[in-house]
């Protein structure tokens, strides 16, 4: 069980979302959480809807008929875009966790350098790739 004995999250819910002056990567972290929670909510509902196929053709058609229309198509596209960002940013987080793309350790000699400068190019690449996937996926949804 995680015990936060040192510095508890005194900001509460604001601490979940606010990035303050912590930079671009902190807001990517917030977006990662928001998209993750959105995907989880959709997934829990998706299990319920798609389980209808176990009850046969009519149950499946009724379930699919209930989630058809432009509002659901837009919603599904948002789920796709959230997946695109969450997946590509997840790869970035995995790479950083494994020690890639953060630069080599250096002596703390003034003027100090921050590893954020080393990490920033990967963050920019992630946003570009996620945007490309979201646009390409958008065409896929439009052509449905």
């Amino acid at each position: 069980m995680i015990e936060n004995k040192g510095r508890p999250n005194r900001l509460g819910v604001v601490g979940w979302l606010g990035g303050g002056r912590w930079g671009f990567e902190r807001y990517m972290y917030t977006l990662h959480r928001v998209t993750g929670l959105g995907l989880l909510l959709y997934f829990l509902l998706h299990i319920g809807v798609t389980a209808s196929r176990a009850f046969g053709e009519q149950a499946w058609k009724t379930a699919m008929g209930a989630v058809r229309g432009p509002i659901f198509t837009v919603g599904e596209y948002l789920v796709f875009a959230a997946f695109a960002f969450h997946a590509v940013n997840g790869i970035r987080l995995g790479l950083i966790e494994l020690g890639f793309a953060i630069g080599k350790p250096i002596e703390p000699v003034y003027p100090y350098r921050t590893s954020v400068d080393e990490q920033r190019p990967l963050a920019i690449v992630v946003m570009i790739v996620a945007a490309i996937l979201a646009v390409v996926g958008g065409f896929g949804f439009l052509m449905k």
Binding site: M1, L44, I47, R53, A54, F80, E97, G137
Partner: protein, 126 residues
């Protein structure tokens, strides 16, 4: 130590989801720009019953549905648990939350697996 293992499983589940959900998205939603045989074997849309039955008969799809279900439930619910724990609730609340999240995950996994299995056997018998 336990949380370190759970975190490692969280990352491993993420890698599984990356592959399987990516495939799922392409098959179910991007058939128009990435045509795969599994999307619309009988024409029409991927969600048309005739196409659903073809996928439901496949051992590959049955196994990967269950794998994706388990990986996504674990990844998502463990992530939710971490977010909630950031509010630093008391030990009793943490245990109650962990128990509730685990129960929801197990119930949905069993229900989803059952649906995949019944769909598989019904489609094979059809």
């Amino acid at each position: 130590m336990r949380d370190q293992s759970l975190w490692t499983w969280h990352l491993a589940a993420g890698a599984v989801i990356l592959v399987l959900l990516g495939l799922h998205m392409v098959i179910m939603h991007l058939a128009a720009i990435v045509p795969l045989a599994s999307s619309v074997p009988n024409g029409g849309e991927p969600i048309d019953w005739a196409n659903v039955v073809v996928r439901a008969k496949s051992v590959f799809f049955m196994v990967t549905y269950v794998l994706l279900l388990g990986a996504a439930l674990f990844h998502g619910l463990y992530g939710l648990r971490n977010i909630l724990f950031e509010l630093n609730p008391g030990t009793g609340t943490k245990k109650a939350l962990s128990g509730l999240i685990l129960a929801v995950g197990v119930v949905l996994f069993v229900a989803g697996t059952l649906a995949a299995w019944v769909g598989f056997t019904v489609a094979r018998g059809a």
